[in-house]
Every structure is written in C-alpha cells, then in structure tokens.
Amino acid sequence: MGVELTWLQLCGLVVLGAVAGGVGSLTGIGGGLILTPVLTLLFGVPIHQAIGTSLCCVIATSSGAAASYVEHYLSDIRLGMTLELTTTLGAVTGSLVAARLSREALAMLFAAFLTYAGSTMARRSLQAEAVDPGGVEPYEVKRLPLGLCGSGAAGMLSGMLGVGGGVIKVPLMYLGMGVPFKVATATSNLMIGVTAAASAFIYYARGDVWPLITAPAAVGVYLGAALGARLLRRTPSRWLIVLFSFIMFYFAVIMIWKSFHGGFAR
C-alpha cells in the first residue's frame, strides 16, 4: 500500500505545508484543519494516513510558536501540565478509536469538526476585538474539574482527527476557567505538542505516518509558520480568517459528499 510520488508532488507537499503553517500562524486556524482535507482530496492520501501526517505537522507548528510564548511569560506552564494529564489520555483513546472507524465515518467526523471550527473562527473574527488589552492581569484558575474533562475531550478529538484542538481548549480556559484570552491561547498552544505526541507514536507504529508524505509537509509547515510569524505581528486581518472559514466549509461539504458517494473507498 502506498501512494506513488513524483518530484512535483513532493514539492507540492512542501508548498501545502508552508501554506498551512503560514495561515496557521497568521489566523490562528490550526494547520491540521487545512492539511488533512487537502491531503485526502488533492493528493489522494487515505484519511487515516492524512491524519497521521497532520499530527506530526501540528507538533512542528506548536513547538515554534510555544517557544516564544513560554519566554514571554504568556503560557501557564503549570496549568498546561495539569490539563495535559487528560489531553494525553484523551489523545491515546482517540487514536485507538480512529483506527476502528471506516474512512467514510472518519471523514464525516472530520467534516463536522471543520464546520464547527470554521463557524467559531468566523464568529470570533466578526465580533469586536474587546480582548487583548496588552499585558496580562493576575488571575486565578477556576473550575479545574471542568477544565480537565473538557481537555480530555479536546485531546480525544486531537488523537482522532489529527488537529490541535485549540478551538475547544481556548474557549474552555477563557470562558470556563477564568484564564485571560492571551494566556489561554498560549497555554493551548504549549499543550498541543505533548497531546499530539501521545497519539502520533501510535499512528507511527501502525504505519499511518508515511515518511515521504509527512517529511515534506512538516518541513513546509515549519518554514511557513516561521515566515507567517515574521510577516505579521499585529492581529490577523479579518478577511483572511473569513476567507479561510469559507474554505473550511467548502472542504467539509466535499468530504461529506465524497463519503456518501464512495469517494474514500479506493
């Protein structure tokens, strides 16, 4: 089993990774939400393997950004470590569940998550930017049990769909646990690496991380994320977020359509 690769496709994978990484760092839309649909729909990679690739790429994006958040005292390392207890458990469970699901079922779940994430992003970008008053106020973490449960769910989604899960963790910490928005974003980012690693080894050992698909995509993601961070240090432009939420809806529709018409059962 495997996909025949040409040099052109290899370059295409680097470009795809760069776009996903760049868009991720400019808009906050996780790279995983773009990579998996493009890998399945455009490159013909089966969805389980696309998710394995995406998980590795998610680690590449998270590590670079998390390093500077940690240095600037934005990530709450203690809170992150505590919530990682359940995100990792969730991720292991998610990766075991994904292995039992058919391609169609997994594609449908992915499409549902894309729709949710897309609408959340669009809504947030259209709201007035009341968050971000510069520095970080002192805060106290509230409702830890809720945070642990929610993080477990986010971890499970990550392990099952190969996404970072920031769409769930950021509101959970910000609205549910009384953590400032900036800290919630930075802490969620820090947690992504460990969470993804907990399920990525399982994908790897199962043969669902194809080196010649994953390596070019991850190199691209690394370059794209670094470039994106350098290009734009202010808040991301709204039209870019809205544009990409529409692209996500489009991917979701195609994935559902293909699931019903046997497009994934090659």
């Binding site: 390093a67 005292y73 990792t88 460990v194 690693a197 080894f201 190199v219």
Partner: protein
C-alpha cells in the same frame, strides 16, 4: 518581578522546543535532499517502510525514507523532552505537586509508546 529559577526554567523549555523542532526539520530536509539526489523521476511507495527496530540500520545506510523517518521521530520526541525539563524545573523549585503531575503526563506518553510498540 519574576524569580530567577522560573526564568531559567522558561528559557530551558523554550530552547528545547525551538532547537528540537529546528533539528528535526533539518534532518527531514536532509532526507528530502537525499530523495532528490537519488531517486528516479518517480520513486517507490510513500508508505511506511519499517519500524523502530529497523530504523537505525537503515539510517546508517542512508536509506532516504529512513532519514526522513528519523527526523519525524525527533519531532515526536521534542515534546517528551519538554515534559522532562519542566518536571526537573519544578523539582528545583521544590514544587513537588507539579513534579508528580509532570511524572503522570510522562507516564501516559511513555505508555502510549509502549502501546504503540506491542
């Protein structure tokens, strides 16, 4: 404002994350360059070619996919090193509650590797 131990811990964690992802990306890029140098116009399956056990002999032979695979594994190991560094830092701060939490997270991740291997 921030105490010295915490500042050191933060820069150690940041360094692990930064250099871990940089080094693994460089190794993956090296694998890709080898592919370009060696491969004909179309090369074999992009599929999974081996396992933990056979990886290192293949890397020594400069098997192209194995070099890319090694880079991927380095990327996956980076977050694990981050847990260990944070755990040690908590220990130095005598914050034993968080040492235990770090050990718990480490146990889950190492458990997942064990689960993956067998």
């Amino acid at each position: 404002m921030h105490d010295l131990t915490e500042e050191k811990a933060r820069s150690a964690i940041a360094a692990i994350l930064r250099y871990g992802s940089l080094i693994s990306t460089l190794v993956m890029a090296l694998g890709l360059i080898l592919v370009f140098l060696r491969a004909p116009a179309s090369f074999g399956p992009g599929g999974h070619l081996g396992s933990f056990r056979t990886l290192f002999p293949r890397v020594i032979r400069l098997d192209v996919a194995a070099v890319a695979e090694l880079g991927i594994l380095l990327l996956l190991v980076t977050p694990i090193l981050r847990i260990i560094v944070a755990g040690v830092a908590f220990g130095l701060e005598r914050d034993y509650k968080y040492v235990f939490i770090s050990l718990g997270v480490l146990a889950v991740v190492l458990g997942s590797i064990r689960l993956a291997m067998f």
